[in-house]
Structure formats: structure tokens, C-alpha cells
Amino acid sequence: EAGVTQSPRYAVLQEGQAVSFWCDPISGHDTLYWYQQPRDQGPQLLVYFRDEAVIDNSQLPSDRFSAVRPKGTNSTLKIQSAKQGDTATYLCASSFRGLQLYFGEGSKLTVL
């Protein structure tokens, strides 16, 4: 069975540029999470979905970050007008009915 797939693995941007990260969860998993992990810190929840619905996006910096999961399967996290403070690894995880999380390998973002 395929695990959680994320792309791209790496992205390097200048400040002010935009980037999108894509996540393909494990087939059949209804809950999908996006986390931001700055260097030497723990993962911090940005947003999570159950099927196509956003359950909690209170930690998403809404002015520049957006996330969608239109068909309840794949998801995209977009950062517009990136800042140096956005430098981090962006992790996607999925679960079935709130059971254990399975993580992808992450997308490492560097903003110069």
C-alpha cells in the first residue's frame, strides 16, 4: 500500500514569490493534516480536513497561506508572497477516523 506522498521535496524561493505543496494521502483516509516544522522545533498544526471540509484552520496565517482539499482526497497548501520566516519543512499526514497519523516525507522550503 502506498504511503503519504508529498511534492515537491524541496523548494527555494526569493521573498515575495509563491509556492504550492501537494499531498496525496493514503487511500481511504478521511482526515488530512498539514503541519509546519521550523528547524529544531516540533511540528505545528496549520490546518486539518475531514473529507473536503476544513475542521480547524485557526493556526493558518490566512493572509498568505491557504489550503484546499476539494474532492476529499489530495490536498494543496499554497503560500503567497513568501517570507524568510516561512522557511520550514511542511509535513502532510493522514489518518482514518482519527486513528494514528501517517506522515509523508515533507517538503522543505527555504526562503532567501
Binding site: G42, Y48, L99
Partner: protein
């Protein structure tokens, strides 16, 4: 806000010794998951727990929901146990909050 505190923040062990890591929750956790993040950054699942205890080889984990804590015991530490250990607390809305991490270095 929701907080999950881990202790210690860093730990050095010699091969063959034992240790315990702890997670304290300020949220009402229903389940807990422990991960090891390896030097490549991959999060490896160690345990997923309802209240109680699980054991897997040299690792054992306990989750006490009434007292809002979880522990991870490492027996006979090996070099490959090095990395950062995270606990994650699940709420009854499926929100999952990560702890601050424990960085473990095992030396010969």
C-alpha cells in the same frame, strides 16, 4: 493555547543504558502517538496508544489520560535510537498537537 510539554529537552545516553521520556498534556487527550524523527527528517511511528501500556522490543510506552501524561521507556539504548522523539496528543475532535521534542544522542 493547547500545549504538550516534553521532558527532558535533550538527553545523552551510553549504549546499553536505560531512560524515560515524558509528555505532559494541557489538553484533554484521548489517544497519544509517539514518533522518532530520524536525521533525514522522517517521522517514524513508534506507538499509538489509548490509555494503558504498550511494549515493542526495547521500547515501552504508557498513557495515563486521568493524570494527562505519557511516558516512553527505552531499554538497552542502541546507536540507532538517536534522533528526536515527539509525542502527539489527539483530542476528541481529531485535532493532533505535537510536543516540543526530546533530542536523544546515544554514544558508544
Amino acid at each position: 493555547g493547547d500545549k504538550v510539554k516534553q521532558s527532558p529537552s535533550a538527553l545523552s545516553l551510553q549504549e546499553g543504558t536505560n531512560s524515560a521520556l515524558r509528555c505532559n498534556f494541557s489538553i484533554a487527550a484521548t489517544t497519544v502517538q509517539w514518533f522518532l524523527q530520524n536525521p533525514r527528517g522522517s517521522l517514524i511511528n513508534l506507538f499509538y496508544l489509548v490509555p494503558g501500556t504498550k511494549e515493542n522490543g526495547r521500547l515501552k510506552s504508557t498513557f495515563n489520560s486521568k493524570e494527562s501524561y505519557s511516558t516512553l521507556h527505552i531499554r538497552d539504548a542502541q546507536l540507532e535510537d538517536s534522533g528526536t522523539y515527539f509525542c502527539a496528543a489527539f483530542s476528541n475532535t481529531d485535532k493532533v498537537v505535537f510536543g516540543t521534542g526530546t533530542r536523544l544522542q546515544v554514544s558508544p
